[in-house]
């Protein structure tokens, strides 16, 4: 390893300068939040990265499909090498076709969903995900130029079962950042399908969501029939919430018996498989409605 001869004094000065700069950035960002100049620089950085992420995703997706196609090959011990190669090619192609068919169906479902749920909604493709292990977010290829704005809810699924994905937290000209439902800072009002009781659904990272503030004594029996959780449109004064009602959040997976005297809590398994999410729909009504959270 070639390590240059250190000059301790200048190096120490450099580190002190960089640490001071970092502390200044932390302070500035902490004070000014989403309205400060650093947030604007962040938006520029995200806008710069979006086309690159889109390109990388486009390039690497067929490679992933290729490997998944190979992984599904049946055993062909009695066949010769030529037939094996032909079969491999066919299987890979078939896997790719199945993938395309699946994508096509997902887009059809999304278009149908857009027609019924929000004709002005913006369909988008997922082009990347957050860079940190402590941040559950995705990047989509629709931005402010397409009419996407901060606080718009994002869904996926079909007209029969629209499912909540998250909410837009940053809108750049050609891409947007969506905070996922499972992020630990995420909060949304939820309503239980059987009892109609409401509560607050909170993201828990890779674990199931948690729904708190359900009235104490609420009977929730997930053994006899599945209990699902949907968004509910709160009304605070004359303003309505950000989320349209009846978007599926997930299913109750566990009831915390006798949580305490003022509330009952449950675990909720998200309805969306976030690891396989490719297409989403940004709803514009939420923003137009304005008003309160959740």
């Amino acid at each position: 390893m070639a390590v240059g001869r250190p000059r301790p004094r200048s190096t120490r000065l450099l580190v002190v300068g960089l640490v001071s700069a970092s502390l200044a950035i932390i302070t500035l960002d902490y004070r000014q939040g989403a309205d400060g100049p650093l947030a604007a620089v962040g938006a520029q950085a995200q806008a710069f990265m979006a086309p690159l992420q889109r390109a990388v995703t486009t390039v690497t997706e067929p490679i992933g499909d290729f490997f998944s196609g190979l992984a599904n090959l049946p055993s062909l011990q009695d066949e010769n090498e030529r037939l094996k190669r032909e079969l491999a090619d066919s299987q890979t192609q078939a896997a790719r076709n199945a993938e395309l068919q699946s994508d096509y169906q997902a887009m059809l479902d999304l278009l149908e969903l857009k027609g019924t749920l929000d004709p002005t909604g913006v369909p988008a493709v997922v082009i990347g995900s957050g860079v940190s292990n402590f941040d559950w977010s995705i990047t989509i290829d629709a931005g402010a130029n397409d009419g996407v704005d901060v606080d718009m809810p994002v869904v996926t699924g079909t007209t029969d079962a629209p499912r909540l994905v998250g909410i837009v937290v940053a809108a750049n000209p050609s891409s947007s950042e969506v905070q996922l439902l499972i992020d630990r800072d995420y909060r949304v009002g939820g309503e239980l399908s059987v009892s109609g009781e409401t509560g607050i659904v909170i993201g828990q990272g890779d674990d199931d969501l948690r729904m708190d503030l359900i009235s104490p004594g609420t009977e929730i029996d997930i053994e006899t029939e599945p209990v699902q959780v949907f968004t509910t449109s709160y009304e605070v004064g004359e303003a309505t919430g950000l989320y349209p009602p009846n978007i599926l959040i997930g299913s109750v997976s566990r009831v915390f018996e006798g949580t305490n005297e003022i509330q009952t809590a449950v675990s909720v398994r998200p309805a969306v498989d976030f690891s396989a999410l490719e297409f989403v729909l940004v709803l514009r009504r939420g923003s137009e409605a304005g008003g309160s959270e959740g």
Binding site: V19, I25, I26, M49, S132, N133
Partner: protein, 169 residues
Amino acid sequence: MIRRTVAIVVVVITALLLQSTIFADLRLLGVRPELLFLVTIVLALLEGPNEGAIVGFASGLAQDFLLNEPKGITALTLTLLGYGVGMARQFIVSPSPLLPTAIVFVGTAAGIAFQEVVSFLLGTFNHPVTYAVKVALLSAAYNAVLTPIVYPLLRRLSEGARPRKVARF
């Protein structure tokens, strides 16, 4: 100098891109590697504390700007990490080829722990301790596994971008 700066910028952007696309799916027990920690540590090992601190600051800032979290924490973490690893390297004398892997493991785990503590002190860390420990250890292990691939690449790049010495007679 310009060639070197461009090379480092390309490495940082590539690491960010890989982390937000391919490695978002290639997780180790639900945790992805921290490629910018890996790049900072390896360059600090190769080039010393000065460059380690500069690369750490630049790559940390780049990651901060892509996060919807308080900015500057990763820059602070990676600046200190790059400097610390670069300084420590001068005092470690071992011919073992496993040395970079071991330093990457320890450096990543310590760096993530430091970042979590700073986030906690700022009131922005709302994850359970068990998850924090899991992320620190698994990211460190993932980075250590990637070191035999990344280290030779960065060494080659670093040597290629170094100004050539001219002998005058």
